[in-house]
């Protein structure tokens, strides 16, 4: 990898779904599009920011797509950019706002509407209304925000006020788009017409036609989609892998929710489609690879939590696909299936990655760091991605047998005979020695307890405390510093420290220290002043 550019002050704060490499102007020079969390759509060309557009809301995803080719239109294809903000998708064409599409909100359930219409006359019995809403919620009906707000009010006065304020308003559902992808319509071409796949908060995945924004397909999932992976062609066969907020990945094949789901042990923090497999990262630092039919290919444990995933297709050969994984410890690893091909370390945590063609260079990796910095790395022409730096599985040494000398006849006779004949004796001797060892240990323990002159570090029986004493100073004043740690598992109260000393030589303010309750774990530090009584002799200790 070559470090092309690093700008720690780029101040990009975005999510992986809001970073794309697109040729927005259609002149064959891909640009970097970033939808920033502070409501900006930025376009970078090379290393320079060329334009910045203000967005109306915080974007949740951006996605380039090619609208349907007009009859007799020019051969060049200019992609549009869909920016999902809240409930709306804003379409930008040639970096100009072009269209706004509102995702249809789900229907408000009839019962809930009834309850709200009742409210108008039944101001008096609000408690009953609340009860009705609660029962609706318990029945599993999806309540609108208005009802949820009402239920979240604590006191009766607040509720009354809220009802009075919202009496006239019809309750409506509003939804938020959580993720968006594009799917090619009927050809695998780079600039083929594509459709938008949108996942929203009301547990639905919708496929939109990019030209007239009609809804082609709607699938309701059991969970809120968080990540979408797409493969295949819309008109031929396609599969969507949708990861929910929980730990389940759902499959949609040709508009139908498949019965097979992938269930992981912990919650999913990333999903991409890479070649013929789905790569899923979970919160327990594991990267899984699944076949589209739900079969698990492999899983790799990472040394640190996974921050971002990206697929990397080096040349147009479709089976030459690698996976990039950014970890919390600043490492970016490159995997070809199970084998680690290379790894880069950076001194900051990478939050988003995008690999693709950028500014004349085919294999460019864009990184956005946690502190808002941006870096561009270019894959070196000479880098060999086929080599396997570390082979997975057992090391080759495992197959080489150890050079164990053969057992001699004498050895066998001796051991067999002795062990068989004197087995009982051997056991007895062992037991006796064990008893002796235990006795010795107990004796020395008692000795330590009775003597009381332990070293500076001591452990008592019941409490399991650790005490370290240091003396600071040259005299005649000294400072006695005690650090006490409760190494047990329970809180230790009523602990006292008594300091014994020769009163002829030293003077202390108090030789008795009443300790506060000691929590297990942290170190407690106490200081005590000691004064030497024989100042005249100038002798310390």
């Amino acid at each position: 990898w070559l470090d092309a550019y690093h700008d720690p002050m780029a101040s990009i704060h975005t999510t992986p779904s809001c970073l794309r490499l697109v040729d927005v102007t259609g002149n064959g020079d891909p640009k970097l599009i970033v939808a920033d969390q502070n409501q900006k759509l930025r376009v970078y060309k090379g290393i320079n920011l060329i334009s910045e557009l203000a967005l109306l809301d915080t974007p949740s995803a951006i996605c380039p797509f090619y609208a349907e080719q007009k009859a007799g239109g020019g051969s060049e294809r200019i992609p549009s950019i869909a920016v999902a903000c809240g409930q709306f998708i804003f379409i930008y064409k040639k970096l100009r706002p072009n269209f706004k599409f509102a995702l249809p909100a789900p229907q408000v359930s009839e019962e809930e509407l009834n309850v709200w219409s009742c409210k108008e006359f039944m101001n008096a019995c609000k408690v009953m209304i609340d009860g009705q809403l609660v029962s609706l919620q318990e029945n599993g009906t999806n309540l609108t925000y208005q009802s949820s707000d009402l239920l979240s009010k604590e006191t009766l006065e607040d509720r009354t006020l809220f009802i009075e304020q919202n009496q006239k308003v019809q309750p409506t559902h509003s939804t938020t788009i959580t993720c968006m992808e594009s799917i090619k319509k009927n050809s695998d071409d780079e600039t083929a017409t594509s459709c938008l796949v949108v996942g929203a908060e009301h547990k639905q995945v919708t496929i939109l036609d990019a030209t007239n924004f009609s809804i082609l397909m709607k699938v309701t999932l059991p969970a809120v989609p968080a990540f979408i992976g797409v493969t295949g062609l819309m008109d031929v066969e396609y599969r969507l892998a949708v990861a929910g907020r929980g730990n389940v990945v759902y499959m949609i094949k040709n508009g139908q929710l498949m019965a097979t789901t992938i269930e992981l042990e912990s919650s999913i923090c990333g999903l991409i489609c890479s070649g013929k497999s789905i790569i899923v990262a979970d919160a327990q630092n594991v990267m899984y690879s699944f076949h589209f039919k739900g079969k698990k290919n492999y899983s790799i444990h990472m040394p640190a939590p996974i921050q971002a995933l990206e697929t990397m297709q080096v040349d147009s050969v479709s089976n030459n696909v690698l996976q990039l994984v950014a970890l919390q410890n600043g490492e970016i690893r490159l995997y070809r299936e199970k084998t680690l091909v290379s790894s880069i370390t950076s001194n900051d945590v990478v939050t988003c990655m995008r690999f693709g063609k950028y500014a004349r260079e085919d294999s460019t990796l864009l990184l956005v760091y946690k502190n808002g910095g941006m870096a561009i790395k270019i894959l070196s022409r000479n880098s060999n991605l086929n080599k396997t730096s570390k082979t997975g599985g057992p090391p080759p040494e495992q197959d080489i047998p150890l050079n164990v000398p053969k057992k001699t006849k004498l050895y066998i006779e001796q051991t067999q005979a002795r062990k068989k004949q004197q087995a009982i004796d051997m056991h007895r001797i062992f037991q006796r020695d064990l008893c002796k060892l235990r006795l010795n240990a107990a004796r020395s323990y008692v000795k330590i307890l009775t003597d009381g002159n332990q070293k500076t570090s001591s452990h008592s029986i019941t409490a399991s405390l650790k005490l370290n004493v240091e003396v600071q100073g040259l005299g005649p004043y000294y400072k006695l510093i005690m650090t006490i740690t409760n190494t047990g598992t329970k809180i230790n109260s009523d602990c006292k420290v008594m300091i014994r000393y020769n009163p002829d030589l030293y003077k202390m303010q108090s030789s008795f220290l009443d300790l506060p309750p000691l929590m297990p774990g942290p170190q407690y530090r106490f200081e005590e002043k000691v004064r030497c009584a024989f100042v005249m002799h100038q002798e310390g200790e």
């Binding site: 070559l2 470090d3 550019y5 090379g46 500014a359 022409r381």
Partner: protein
């Protein structure tokens, strides 16, 4: 024969032949540079070179045969096969493309460390100085660590292949070095 050739040489009938290799990244302006050096036929549109082109022209009493190599990533591996035949190297740098300077550096050091290019005079064109926000030749030298190159004569000159600015200076430098060597 030898005497005759020397006489003809002195009279300028037979010009010394010189093979020059022109390399650089894609879109750095190699073909435009060559087009400008040729006395005839100034093409206005230059398409990306595929593989390589061979151009011949004579300047300052030397017949130049220029191998105009393609700079596209997949053709860069061809460069090293021509190092052996070359008597001089022209390396064109696009100094407006700061992003890919690292790629330039990598390719350049691969070239400089190749055994066949040892002691070949190397000319650098810091091209595209007409574009604002470009690197100066000094900055190029610093970034590409050219000041550490001691095993060959080299020279960097700012140029603009569209207008021809700086190209003559560079070619004169090359011909000077070639006549010195011969």
């Amino acid at each position: 024969m030898g005497i005759l050739q020397k006489i003809l040489d002195a009279l300028g009938f037979i010009k010394p032949q010189c093979k020059v290799l022109c390399v650089g990244l894609d879109n750095s302006g190699k073909s435009t540079v060559i087009q400008h050096l040729k006395p005839t036929s100034h093409k206005t549109e230059v398409t990306p070179t595929v593989g390589f082109n061979v151009e011949q022209f004579s300047r300052s009493n030397i017949n130049f045969t220029v191998f105009d190599m393609s700079g596209a990533g997949k053709y860069r591996s061809l460069w090293e096969h021509y190092y052996k035949d070359a008597q001089a190297i022209i390396f064109v740098i696009d100094c407006s493309d700061k992003l890919r300077m690292c790629v330039v550096k990598e390719e350049l050091h691969a070239l400089l460390n190749h055994k066949d290019t040892k002691s070949l005079p190397t000319l650098f064109f810091a091209n595209k100085i007409d574009i604002s926000d470009h690197l100066t030749p000094v900055e190029c030298v610093q970034y590409l660590e050219l000041d550490g190159v001691k095993d060959r004569p080299w020279h960097i000159t700012p140029s603009n292949a569209l207008t021809g600015y700086g190209l003559d200076e560079g070619v004169n430098w090359i011909s000077e070095h070639l006549t010195q060597r011969s």
